[in-house]
């Protein structure tokens, strides 16, 4: 059983507040849900909408089914756009009804913003949530009354318990993708973030800025992205695990410093929350168009690792891991997310490794050589000021003790040393995750944020008797031979939010895997489960 809600209106009309109030209460009541948004790059006006799917089982994608409830905060646009996709027995709450709720908020609560809470209460009543159950969970008495008032409206309009959904007991928490990244970073030991605001990465910076007063972390707003990554490298050199977060346009400015990280072997984690490009593109929409860019960013040759989490759990665990990998191998590690994952809120299921990662602070004698050549390619790393050992780091090709050199034999040995790390990195690569019937001849391949949409589509297809499975790459670089095991003889359908099938090409280049079909979407919107099922069905005939 599930209930799909859309709340639409102009930017600034309060749809986001309804989503926040509702998702907060839903998660406290123990309802599995998934929420995401579609918004324009403007502060007022336009047309934005929030989509919330409540279910009696874990859900992690938009179903794509007709809406059970559409709430229009505006007078015409939401109705024009979304009423046609209302279910036959769906509820449409137009501007007149929303107006009554707003009047109530002003009169009874003397607070126009109370209407968000009332609307949340109304939606809760639609799914049969007990107002008495939500009451003690409300942040304060007036919120509790507003939630109850929503229930009264639902009863008056005959909407109460329209589709009863039973919550699932258990401890869960709700997070959006960016919160998950920030938490993963904290667990990975990150203590320094520098950045320059850019949608959809900004909330990662917000998170660090807001917690900085309580815990020993630092956020610095840089003058530009060039400075941001250089600051992070400075902080990393000085001894803090550091990170930057940006989107494609900001990352373009960072590429110079990515190369610097490669040459100086300075650990750092870089988040690229992708949005459609090129250039400024569609600032608030979603796309997976930066894979090739991140893969090749920075001049020269040096090892790197790229993760692309496909769920909240993975956003936490892979970000956490990114700091460990960056530190142990002294390389830049990238996390590719996108607006869809960044802005989607969901209930976290499953276990997450929460043990905090710690770094060592080894002390060396004078004569310490920052770039000592080793078998693994990893040189001893320490930080200035701990002893008489000097930490000498250089962007030019350098000797083992970090001095500029034009010794061309040494150059070769240094390149080999750096690239040798790839051998070790391949050994500890994160294997892709598989779902569905492994014997099925068709495999849906995804990377990054599409994972859970694909996994639900596989379930739906199997329920129809279509034999498919899925494989999701949470690590997209380096790709290793074991990752391809069992895939060579399958019919691969690669699902990506871009126009050219970048990951499919990478699979072919790195692993020799041939993608038979591609399902691509680059309108700036995410896939829904129904849409994906439809497109796979079409391919399979």
């Amino acid at each position: 059983m599930e209930f799909n809600v859309l709340i639409g209106g102009e930017a600034g009309q309060g749809m986001f507040s309804v989503e926040l109030e509702l998702s907060e209460t839903l998660s406290r009541l123990g309802y599995p849900f998934f929420a995401t948004k579609n918004y324009m790059s403007r502060i007022r006006g336009g047309h934005n909408y929030h989509m919330i799917r409540v279910a009696d089982r874990p859900v992690h994608a938009l179903s794509g089914k007709p809406w059970d409830l559409v709430i229009a905060m505006d007078s015409a646009e939401t109705e024009r756009r979304h009423r046609p996709s209302l279910a036959a027995d769906g509820i449409f709450l137009g501007a007149d009804r929303v107006g009554q709720i707003e009047a109530e908020a002003r009169e009874t609560f003397r607070d126009p913003t109370a209407s968000s809470t009332i609307l949340a209460g109304l939606i809760l009543a639609c799914i049969g949530a007990e107002p008495s159950a939500s009451r003690p969970l409300a942040p304060d008495e007036s919120a509790a009354r507003a939630l109850a008032k929503g229930g009264e409206f639902a009863a008056r309009w005959g909407l109460a318990a329209r589709r009863v959904i039973t919550p699932r007991p258990g401890d869960r928490c709700k997070l959006d993708g960016n919160q998950a990244i920030a938490l993963g970073a904290l667990m990975g030991g990150c203590q320094f973030v520098a950045g320059y605001p850019m949608t959809p990465a900004t909330s990662i910076m917000h998170y660090f800025a807001s917690v900085a007063s309580e815990i020993p972390v630092h956020f610095e707003q840089a003058e530009d992205e060039i400075a941001a990554l250089n600051m992070a490298l400075g902080a990393s050199y000085a001894g803090l695990r550091s990170m930057v977060a940006t989107s494609g346009g900001g990352f373009a400015l960072m590429t110079e410093a990515v190369s610097l990280a490669g040459m100086t072997e300075t650990p750092v984690v870089v988040i690229d929350a992708q949005r459609p490009g090129p250039a400024t593109g569609l600032p608030t929409r979603t796309e997976q168009g930066d894979l090739n860019f991140v893969l090749h960013a920075g001049h020269g040759e040096f090892p790197r690792v790229i993760f692309a989490p496909g769920s909240i759990e993975e956003a936490i665990s892979l970000t956490r891991r990114a700091f460990d990998v960056a530190d142990r191998w002294q390389i830049p590690v990238f996390i590719l997310t996108d607006q869809y994952l960044a802005d989607s809120v969901q209930v976290m299921e499953g276990r997450v490794p929460t043990k905090m990662l710690r770094r060592d602070y080894p002390v060396f004698e004078a004569g310490y050589r920052r770039y000592a050549i080793t078998d693994t390619g990893v040189s001893p790393l320490t930080y200035p000021g701990l002893s008489e050992a000097r930490v000498e780091v250089d962007s030019d090709e350098h000797t083992e003790d970090g001095k500029i050199t034009e010794d061309l034999d040494l150059r070769v040995r240094m390149v080999d040393k750096r690239l040798r790390k790839l051998e070790g990195l391949r050994k500890e690569a994160v294997m892709p995750s598989r779902a569905g019937d492994r014997r099925a001849p068709t495999v849906l391949v995804s990377w990054g944020s599409n994972r859970q949409i694909v996994e639900e589509a596989v379930e739906a297809l199997r329920a129809e008797g279509i034999a498919v499975s899925s494989v999701h790459f949470g690590q997209v670089y380096p790709l290793t031979a074991p990752m391809a095991r069992g895939l060579a003889r399958k019919r691969l359908i690669c699902i990506e939010n871009n126009a050219t099938g970048q990951f499919g090409q990478l699979l072919r280049r790195e692993l020799g895997l041939k993608v038979a079909h591609r399902i691509l979407k680059y309108s700036g919107e995410c896939f829904t489960v129904a849409e994906l099922v439809e497109r796979v069905r079409k391919i399979l005939g």
């Binding site: 972390v217 050199y237 610097l260």
Partner: protein
């Protein structure tokens, strides 16, 4: 130090290096707590020729590196040393904003008024009309005024010194490093290979020393604009009231699991 130094004989960087070595050695901070950052250029090689920790980064980027280091480690004495092309050209934006950050970072500029390493092109401080390979007609741009810009950006310590006057240099460098706040020192540095105008002799004819720092910024500004037949050197502005930004100690104070759990305000995350 037994090191092959990549500067031309007679280069103004040699006396700057010597002065810096002397000042740093006599500094009342342990040598291990001194960190130099630099960018790219001839001057940017300076840290390689001094016995301290350093991060020699990219062209124009010595300052964001210095900022990151200082924020992470307020216990370190951070000095960014590079050329005029590096600090004022490629890194011009960082120059302004690093000053605005109110951190205790010393910005030293070996100002030879040309791009040395790339063979003598115009730099932001090159005089109007000066000819070189990329400006055969003569430089068409108004020379950038580092001291005026630093003052305008709010630098609480602004000075100019001359590579040909060791004593003056030592005194100004020492004062700038000991000053608690963003300090800027423009060091007039003859480039014997590419700048045939602003030579040692040219400077010696024109330089005069400021007796004592001006009393207010307006006066400092006025003096900073003087460039021509007479050129003042010395401390142009020293703000005795300046308060640095507070930096919390984070190094070796990791975030605890309990703190993260509290932030999250939920139980699910505590599963192992």
């Amino acid at each position: 130090m037994k090191q092959d130094i990549a500067w031309c004989p007679g280069c103004g960087n040699f006396p700057i290096r010597a002065a810096l070595e002397k000042v740093l050695k006599e500094l009342p901070v342990p040598a291990k707590n001194i960190v130099l950052t630099s960018g790219i250029g001839q001057a940017a090689k300076m840290p390689h020729y001094l016995p301290y920790s350093y991060f020699n980064g990219l062209h124009g980027r010595s300052l964001p590196l210095a900022v990151g280091i200082k924020l992470a480690r307020p216990d370190l004495t951070v000095i960014a040393v590079s050329g005029d092309g590096c600090h004022y050209g490629e890194g011009g934006n960082h120059f302004i904003h690093t000053i605005r950050r109110r951190l205790d970072i010393t910005i030293l500029v070996c100002d030879n008024k040309v791009y040395g390493l790339t063979k003598g092109q115009s730099s932001p401080t090159t005089d109007l009309g000066m000819k070189n390979a990329l400006d055969p007609q003569g430089n068409l741009n108004t020379p950038f005024s580092p001291l005026v810009t630093a003052l305008a950006a709010g630098a609480p310590f602004v000075a100019r010194t001359f590579a040909g006057d060791a004593q003056h240099m030592e005194q100004v460098l020492r004062e700038s490093i000991l000053f608690r706040g963003p300090s800027v020192v423009d060091i007039l540095q003859p480039c014997v290979s590419f700048n045939k105008v602003n030579t040692y002799a040219w400077y010696r004819e024109r330089l005069y020393k400021l007796e004592e720092p001006p009393r207010d910024r307006q006066e400092a500004m006025r003096l900073a604009e003087i460039w021509g037949e007479r050129i003042p050197i010395g401390v142009f502005w020293r703000d005795g009231q300046f308060v640095c930004r507070e930096i919390r100690e984070t190094f070796r104070r990791p975030v605890t699991e309990a703190a993260v759990a509290k932030l999250l305000d939920t139980k699910c995350i505590m599963m192992r």
